[in-house]
């Protein structure tokens, strides 16, 4: 059995570490819509990758980095209209993906597999990317912890202290898009948003310090993901929906706790 699910358990742990860090930042920065936009928009990179026949992780990484930069410009310079513009990017990315799939001859079952992902089918290449992104996230959060926390609380104050808050926010979106790409094959575009935000939403209620929130989110997502892997393996179900249902159940349970 370990032969069959070993890789997915490793992937689950690596994704959980990333969710603990980036998911917590997404939640406290109210960047849920932006993350949804990056995740769904990443479909454009998948379509382009399939059309050109190049490495899909590579094409998706480049494409989502462009989206992240566009979204950074939107949130920094067009704040008053950012909610609508974020929706535009969301739809634009998906449309690009669909057009390129239309242009690709033959039937592309592969493309659909990215919509819901399958952590049971994860490959070594994905694991390598996850290790790389996790390392980058860990190094970044260790060095930038105080800055990220200050940014999340009051980004204008960074400016008072002579620190470039816009640049920091852009970096945060770049990290988010890398995390999205590394999770696309395992989790799938459609459910990434739920999985990135539910564990931090639960953790937020039980913690007083931000680093505690990150650690608890990681542990919770590891529980949901590994639980989901086992259930879907034994009952032959699609793993991502099982993981999301477990996480949502956890969220509703946690809501019983009053503030």
């Amino acid at each position: 059995m370990w032969d069959l699910i070993g890789n997915s358990v490793y992937a689950g742990i690596l994704i959980s570490i990333a969710i603990g860090i980036i998911g917590s930042l997404i939640v406290i920065n109210k960047a849920t819509a932006i993350t949804g936009s990056i995740a769904h928009g990443s479909f454009g990179g998948i379509g382009i990758g399939i059309f050109l026949g190049v490495n899909i992780l590579l094409s998706t990484t480049l494409f989502t980095l462009v989206l992240a930069l566009l979204l950074a410009v939107i949130t920094i310079y067009y704040k008053h209209r950012s909610d609508s513009l974020i929706g535009v990017i969301w739809a634009l990315g998906m449309s690009v993906g669909i057009i390129f799939l239309n242009l690709t001859p033959g039937y592309n079952a592969d493309a659909l597999s990215y919509l819901f992902g399958n952590i049971l089918l994860i490959e070594n290449g994905d694991i390598f990317m996850m290790v790389g992104v996790d390392l980058l996230l860990l190094i970044s959060i260790i060095i930038l912890y105080n800055r990220f926390l200050a940014m999340s609380y009051d980004i204008d104050f960074l400016k008072v202290r002579g620190i470039n808050g816009s640049l920091l926010y852009t970096y945060f979106l770049i990290l988010t898009s890398l995390t999205v790409v590394m999770s696309v094959r395992a989790i799938g575009i459609i459910l990434i948003l739920a999985l990135f935000t539910i564990p931090p939403l639960i953790a937020e209620k039980f913690t007083r310090k931000f680093y505690q929130m990150m650690i608890l989110s990681s542990v919770l997502s590891a529980v949901f993901i590994i639980g989901g892997i086992l259930i879907s393996y034994f009952y032959d179900l699609a793993p991502t929906p099982v993981i999301v249902i477990l996480a949502a159940a956890g969220l509703f349970l946690s809501m019983l706790k009053k503030d």
Partner: protein, 240 residues
């Protein structure tokens, strides 16, 4: 050297002129009060002083430098205190943020000591480890004042620091501001600030009328009635 020098300052958002020909200066360690009606441009003026906004025309010098060059020496207390309150962040975390600066990523022992000290001065040390969400509006305002003071600024800029605070708390904060040995610029809706030892007063309503302290006698000062002023000043002081 003057702490603050504003010359021929104009500012507009899109097409709307918000500040027009503002001129004043402030000496080191002096206390200036800025009052004026809603929408008069007070917050805009502070944002220009902080370097968040660029003048449309004119110039601002702080200790002879541009706001951007000197931002590290400015302390700032914003008008609104309702930031993302759900963040798991404690009072102490927030106060420490005042010690961040370019090239500085980690807090050291001195930073923590300074933060403790300011918390004591503001009498909020008992909330140190509380989540910011679990404080009252007035207590949160004090936390933001602490965050501004902990960087040991040469000049502090406060946007209605007493708006959410009860009369006793207001007195405490005004006492504290009065006794600070740095340059202070305080926006207030509360006319009581004028009863304090202010060195200079600016009435801002697009244009500015500047009054030099130390003692201010509103009823007899014809000067204030010359431009559109706060309604109650017109009514009570100018007999218009």
């Amino acid at each position: 050297m003057k702490a603050l020098e504003i010359k021929n300052l104009y500012f507009r958002y899109d097409k709307e002129t918000v500040l027009e020909n503002i001129n004043f200066s402030l000496e080191d360690k002096k206390f200036m009060a800025i009052i004026g009606p809603n929408g008069g441009g007070k917050t805009t003026l502070l944002k220009l002083i902080l370097g968040f906004l660029k003048p449309y025309k004119g110039e601002i010098k702080i200790y002879g430098k541009s706001p951007q060059e000197i931002s590290e020496l400015i302390g700032y207390v914003p008008q609104h205190t309702n930031f993302s309150l759900d963040i798991p962040i404690t009072v102490f975390d927030i106060v420490l943020q005042g010690r961040l600066k370019k090239g500085k990523f980690f807090y050291d022992k001195l930073d923590r000591e300074k933060a403790e000290e300011v918390l004591k001065t503001l009498k909020i040390e008992k909330f140190k480890n509380r989540k910011i969400k679990d404080l009252s509006g007035g207590q949160r305002q004090k936390v933001l004042i602490a965050r501004a003071l902990v960087s040991e600024p040469k000049i502090i800029v406060m946007d209605e620091p007493t708006s959410a605070i009860d009369p006793t708390g207001q007195k405490e904060i005004l006492d504290l501001i009065e006794n600070l040995d740095i340059t202070r610029i305080v926006v207030s809706h509360d006319i009581k600030i004028l009863l304090r030892k202010v060195d200079k007063i600016a009435f801002i309503n697009k244009k500015a009328v500047i009054h030099e302290g130390p003692k201010l006698n509103i009823p007899n000062d014809k000067h204030f009635c010359e431009i559109e002023l706060i309604e109650f000043l017109k009514d009570e002081s100018c007999g218009i």
